[in-house]
């Protein structure tokens, strides 16, 4: 596979870990964490694109159809920081791109 060697690590797809909330794990039929190949630079949008491509039943459950925006009661966390209000195209920390830390998709605690 000379292509990857020629591109170097900076262009190789990242192996990103994503932690899903319980209801979406059940829906997709997966465990707590899934691992996805994501193109670089690794952003929330690219992670969600890869997630929905692998698990089409998750379409519309994390971001709205039409607007593509994060659903109001979901949050994104990475490396103990809230990434919910960063742009979808902002590069995530290297620790996420390198698979050392997961991207956490969390349902807001709401409803009493």
């Amino acid at each position: 596979m000379t292509g990857n060697r020629e591109q170097g690590i900076g262009n190789r797809a990242a192996l990103v870990r994503v932690v899903l909330p319980q209801h979406l794990r059940t829906l997709a039929g997966v465990g707590i964490e899934v691992e996805l190949e994501v193109g670089r630079p690794v952003t929330v949008r690219r992670v969600l694109d890869a997630l929905e491509a692998r698990y089409p039943m998750l379409g519309g459950t994390i971001r709205e159809y039409g607007t593509g925006q994060r659903r109001a009661f979901l949050r994104f966390f990475a490396c103990e920081e809230d990434w919910s209000h960063e742009g979808m195209d902002v590069e995530l920390p290297a620790a996420v791109a390198e698979g050392r830390e997961p991207l956490l998709i969390i349902g807001a605690i709401a409803g009493g």
Binding site: H23, M57, G60, Y65, F73, A110, G111
Partner: protein
């Protein structure tokens, strides 16, 4: 061997209750989609193994689930409900314009002739259709595009299209109802619609007899006589004998004519059932006594049915889609409550038994009759 399958949608999942034709011993399966709100579950009259369910959540949005084996297993199908064109605005609670926004699917109505075709009534009010088993959805935009659309306003539960009635004698004719816009009819398969609210009087409106704006809670039709409709309005039980062109009140001696559910006996088109609820500000039965009221005369003359129902300290509600009938020889009547009970009467309402006592709040009840 005859039997019934009762499809129950609740605030926290779906349940399938089944019994043989005696309707005495019940098997309870579920919860399916545990933790999600299941607004409606309904089977295809063409293929009873084909069942559709509306699964929704404030966190994760809308899903449509489909079973092809009578509810034993399920798979998510299409959940993309995109309004046709630029959605425009309807009225908000305060009368200001508010953009149409998809929130959830309230009601799924499978076609009478094709198991792959199913209609969805959504909030904010619109009608969608799928012809591929729920995979893809297309709006029947003529309804929302009706000239009155910008004047529709949400009811307390949201601006929902909650009732879809398909005319078994005329494939081009269909009825829908919206809270709080009113009832509408199409005679050309959904291209064009007309409001059918003449005779409705809603005193909370600036013009109580306006063409639209009525808070219709539910409409029921007997398949043998599809031009006769019965309506539980916010207040008032109404009847139309001409496909909704004109309505008249048949509340008669009901102790309160507020309520949500209304249904018709499977073999007696003049026998109706309602569950009177105290008022729009107190959503529970009068005096804590849960009573179904039956009319055998197409309205006006009503009798309370209480045998087997709690007659003290009962403060549950029965929601609009939470009553159904089976079509066994002895017509069974079913309803679910916000207290989690599902009641069955195997004798047309004379006596009742609780199939289950402690489900989550029941949002919908449908019945499949196996003969």
């Amino acid at each position: 061997m005859s039997g019934v399958r009762v499809l129950v949608g609740t605030k926290k999942g779906a349940f399938v209750l089944s019994a043989d034709g005696t309707r005495k011993d019940w098997k309870v399966n579920g919860p399916f989609f545990a933790g999600w709100e299941i607004y409606h579950v309904k089977g295809s009259p063409v293929d009873p193994n084909r069942i559709y369910a509306s699964q929704t959540s404030g966190w994760f949005g809308q899903l449509i689930q489909r079973s092809d084996d009578g509810g034993a297993t399920w798979a998510p199908v299409g959940n993309k409900f995109a309004y046709d064109g630029v959605p425009g605005t309807h009225q908000w609670y305060d009368g200001t314009p508010h953009p149409w926004e998809f929130k959830r699917v309230w009601h799924l109505e499978p076609s009478l002739t094709d198991a792959e075709t199913v209609y969805a009534g959504i909030e904010d009010a619109a009608l969608f259709k799928s012809t591929d088993g729920g995979t893809n959805w297309e709006e029947l935009a003529g309804l929302r595009g009706h000239g009155t659309g910008p004047h529709w306003q949400p009811g307390a539960g949201g601006m929902c299209l909650h009732t879809i009635l398909l005319d078994p004698a005329n494939q081009e004719r269909m009825y829908i109802a919206i809270s709080a816009a009113g009832a509408f009819r199409t005679d050309d398969g959904g291209k064009n619609w007309k409001p059918i609210n003449k005779g409705l009087v809603s005193n909370f409106m600036p013009d109580p007899t306006a063409e639209v704006g009525h808070c219709v809670h539910h409409v029921s039709m007997h398949p043998s006589r599809p031009e006769v409709l019965f309506m539980q309005k916010h207040w008032d039980v109404m009847r139309s004998d001409n496909a909704g062109d004109q309505w008249h009140e048949v509340s008669g001696n009901l102790p309160t004519d507020f309520g949500f559910a209304i249904d018709i006996h499977a073999h007696e088109p003049e026998t109706l059932y309602v569950v009177p609820i105290k008022s729009d500000s107190e959503h529970f039965p009068l005096e804590g006594k849960l009573q179904v009221w039956r009319s055998r005369t197409g309205g006006n003359e009503w009798e309370p049915l209480t045998k087997g129902l709690p007659q003290e300290n009962c403060f549950v509600n029965v929601l609009r889609d939470a009553m159904a009938v089976d079509s066994l020889d002895d017509c069974g009547v079913y309803f679910g409550t916000t207290g989690g009970q599902v009641y069955c009467s195997p004798d047309g309402g004379d006596s009742w038994q609780a199939i289950v006592h402690d489900l989550p709040a029941v949002l919908s009840v449908e019945v499949q009759t196996m003969k």
